[in-house]
Symmetry: C2
Subunit: 208 residues, 2 copies
Amino acid sequence: MAQPDTKTRIISTAEELFALAGFHLTSLRTITTQAGVNLAAVNYHFGSKEALLEAVFDRHLIPLNDIRIKRLEGVAAQAKKSGRPPEVEGVLRCFTEPTLALLHRDSGTGYFRMLVGRSLSDPDQTVRQLFLGRVSGVLELLLDLLCQALPHRSRESVSLKLNFALGAMSHTLIFQGQGGLLGGVDKGKSIDEVIEMLTNFIVKGMEG
Amino acid sequence: MAQPDTKTRIISTAEELFALAGFHLTSLRTITTQAGVNLAAVNYHFGSKEALLEAVFDRHLIPLNDIRIKRLEGVAAQAKKSGRPPEVEGVLRCFTEPTLALLHRDSGTGYFRMLVGRSLSDPDQTVRQLFLGRVSGVLELLLDLLCQALPHRSRESVSLKLNFALGAMSHTLIFQGQGGLLGGVDKGKSIDEVIEMLTNFIVKGMEG
DNA sequence: GCACCTTTCAAACACTTGTTTAAATTATTG
DNA sequence: CAATAATTTAAACAAGTGTTTGAAAGGTGC
């Protein structure tokens, strides 16, 4: 089978290493060696290490955001047409389902899943900002719809609860599939069960 | 006012910088300069940078764990005496309340709060392991009690939900007090309100 | 064939990192 | 006070970092 081209090989290797060891702890020499390319290839094809991280984010995050936005806009249009506020669960699923789909192994996003999970709380400001800049738009749309779905709650309360939900989500993206925090969690649970349980957890917490 | 001794000054400065910029992105030179001590002081007093991180963790984490364990054991004893399983909310509060108390500004743990919030999902394996090794005992005790409180749920399910709850908690520790993810969250909420809302969120999600 | 553009390569660049050393200073103890 | 121990200091160390350079190699079109 033909090897992917240099650029793709670098992105894939970087994605894996960034997810496992973090952005700053992963050196360009480690990436290029594992990818089987020359050290200078990163700066030639991407310009800098930071630009490489952006490319890693964009490869899967742009399609993911497209899906999330389309679904959210669908729910918004539906609500407008019917004249009734959308349901909390329906709104949340627009966001959780495409995101948690990253947990599926066959989607080829195993390492990207971990990277996303960690990025929001990454101690490195560069990583945080690059990531947040790519999701804040979706999050604001999500927040707007949640406020419609919970008209008796203040925007501050809804925003706070959304933060709780995002924390539960990103934590799950990191640890699910590698045994959970305490180990042995995902023995008896299929990925779809995990997705359903997390969605239910968030919906209950949001509505309660 | 007399300055704290060298060791304490290093720990406090390191705590702040580790929380803000992460363990590996914070150099010993930055720490020692800001602390007003000589570069070699870290290796003299602690032995290594990693040992310094351990000292930072231990200063607040040991007392915190003592409180959490005492409260959990209290609930366990109470349940045994009464012959009835403990309540979910009571068990969870043993853990959440002392932990979220880190959010209070007057406790002098402002930066430690962020450090704790990030440590579980830190991309640096060293940070993760040092932290996890200090909390796994409490987490297992917590899981045991939660299983008693939810006898009709499998241990896997309870463990999974506990992971959701921990994600929401650590996320809150990071972002609360600095505007939340999308900004402007903590305008209208007191810290005690936040603690109550998070506890309620977790309890509802756990029971549901 | 030649010329042109893209890509690869080894080497070096300037810089930062954690750690160590040995001398100088301060504190403590007999 | 003298002597011993504890601490602080400036300097150097070896190793690793992202990036740049200029030459070599490969591909494409005329």
